[in-house]
Each structure stands twice: as C-alpha cells, then as structure tokens.
C-alpha cells in the first residue's frame, strides 16, 4: 500500500509535516469506528481496516527513517534485513566515540552539547538522504538505504542521551 497516496502527498522524502498532520486529523475523523455505530458489521470492519491503515501510514510518514524506507520499498529497493550487521569501520569507530563521550558525560552542560552535536549530525544525514532520494537512480537509492541504516544509530544515540539527561536532571 502506498502511504503517500493515502495521504494525498507527493511520494518523496521531504514532505510538508503540517499538511501531513492536517490530513491525518481529517482521515481520522472520516474513518473513526465510533462514527459508524449504526453501520452494518461488514461496513464497520471496513472502516476499522481503513482506520488502522490511516494510523499505520501516519506513524511511517511522520518519522524520517520509516518514511525513507517506505519510499525505497515503493521503488522496489530491497532493504537490508534487520539482522544484517553494519561493517563500515570508520562509521562504527565514530559510533564508539559517541558512546564513550556519552559514558563520560557527567554534567547537564556536556550532555546538552552532545544533544546539539547529535542533532546537527542527524540533520546532515537527513539532508544527504533527501538528496540521494531526489536523484532516484538505482545506485543513489541503494546508498540512501545505507544512509538510513546509519541514521538509525544516531536516533538510538539521541534517545540514550535524552535518558541520561533525564536521570542527571532528576538528581540535581
């Protein structure tokens, strides 16, 4: 199923997030099961299916990594299995350094700097992925898939920085 079509949005990586939210609210209202209390069982089931598609599509389209992967799937690019490991040594070394910096961070100030650096890196990744997906050649699409895998590491790191920041803020 093409989630971009469902939301009447162009099938591209960069989308208008405000529009996405507006369409989500409209589609939610149109398909909400509560509205069809008097409908037949068959109709109810249909609306329920539609409603869950609307929700699934929203959760995919609003997150950059999931949106990028969905776009690649629509383009027929096979995404690497989740169990496939990443072997890019330079990238992994950097990841190791990020984790070490996070481990050593012992003040809110240091952690906030990490948040800022991490955010900057994710923005850069997002920009590069957008460029690759815009070019839309076979090799650019494959490269975009690789970059999306790397972006997952940064997003995971972001959540780890956040939870450490929360722990430290609670104590002080």
């Amino acid at each position: 199923m093409n989630y971009f079509e469902l939301y009447n949005l162009p099938a591209q990586f960069e989308i208008d997030l405000d529009k996405l939210k507006q369409h989500y609210q409209t589609l939610q209202k149109l398909t909400h099961p509560d509205k069809f209390a008097s409908a037949s069982e068959q109709q109810k089931r249909m609306y329920l299916t539609k409603n869950s598609q609307v929700n699934d599509a929203y959760s995919v389209l609003r997150m950059p990594v999931a949106r990028g992967e969905h776009l690649l799937e629509l383009r027929g690019i096979e995404l690497a299995n989740e169990q496939d490991t990443v072997g890019d040594v330079g990238f992994l070394m950097e990841q190791m350094e990020w984790r070490e910096a996070l481990e050593d961070a012992d003040s809110i100030k240091v952690l906030e700097q990490l948040v800022a650096d991490n955010h900057k890196t994710i923005q850069k990744q997002e920009y590069e992925i957008a460029q690759l997906l815009l070019k839309n050649t076979e090799s650019d699409n494959h490269e975009a898939a690789q970059e999306l895998r790397k972006m997952k590491f940064m997003i995971k790191l972001a959540s780890e920085i956040d939870s450490k920041l929360e722990r430290i803020s609670d104590v002080s």
């Binding site: 989740e82 169990q83 490991t85 990443v86 072997g87 992994l92 190791m96 984790r99 995971k156 780890e160």
Partner: protein
C-alpha cells in the same frame, strides 16, 4: 523481558572488557553494528605467531544480551586458532545464553564480530 541467569552473570561481571592497540600486528580488530537497535561491538583478538588466539577483549555498547554475547565469545575464542574461531555460530551463543528470539540478532552480532576480526587479521598479514 526476563534475561537468563547466564546473561545476567555476563552482564554484571563481563569478562575481558577493554582493548588492545589496533595497530599492533598481532592484534585483530572486528567492529560491527546492528542498525535495528543501534548496538556497536568491538572485538579484539591477540594472535600468537602460531595462529592461536592468546587473548581477547571487547567493548560493546548495547543491551544486556549484546554485552553477554560478546563477553562469552571472548572466553570461547581463547586457545582456538583463528580458523577454529570462525566456526563459532550464533546459534551456539544463543543456545548457551538461552537468548529469546527477539535477541538472536545480538548473537549474530557477536558471530560477525569474530569474522570481522579474523578478516582484519588476514588482511594485515596478507602482504
């Protein structure tokens, strides 16, 4: 989710945490990562002139199962030749640690780390 006793043991008392100088010719370094959960694993082997692994160290950022899998592997590879070490299968690791299906990828990460380290060693010594 409940971790097995063995996972908890390795998690609380990880064996052989640390690292060696990666530029030392007798050191093999394997780096791998799992995008699904953002885990990063570094496994280093100290290989003797006879091709036998004398020592192993690891550093892993990830969940308990990933740490336990790499800790276990450092124990298992010692005394093996590098080729024997590559015969360690993720299924052996998963079985030993009683990993649940959702954590199988942690054992795959550890298996791939051994392979990456051995490949690094062979590359270092091919010329």
């Amino acid at each position: 989710m409940a971790y097995s006793q063995k996972v908890i043991d390795h998690y609380e008392n990880p064996r052989n945490v640390g690292g060696f100088d990666k530029d030392d010719p007798s050191i093999a370094t394997g780096m791998v990562g799992a995008p699904a959960c953002g885990d990063v694993m570094k496994l280093q082997l100290k290989v003797g002139a006879n091709g036998i692994i004398e020592d192993a160290k690891f550093k892993t950022y990830g969940c308990g199962s990933a740490i336990a899998s790499s800790s276990l592997v450092t124990e298992w590879v010692k005394g093996k030749s590098i080729d024997e070490a590559t015969l360690i299968k993720n299924t052996d690791i998963a079985e030993e640690l009683a990993l649940p299906p959702v954590k199988i990828h942690c054992s795959i990460l550890a298996e791939d780390a051994i392979k990456a380290a051995v490949a690094d060693y062979k590359k270092k010594h091919s010329s």
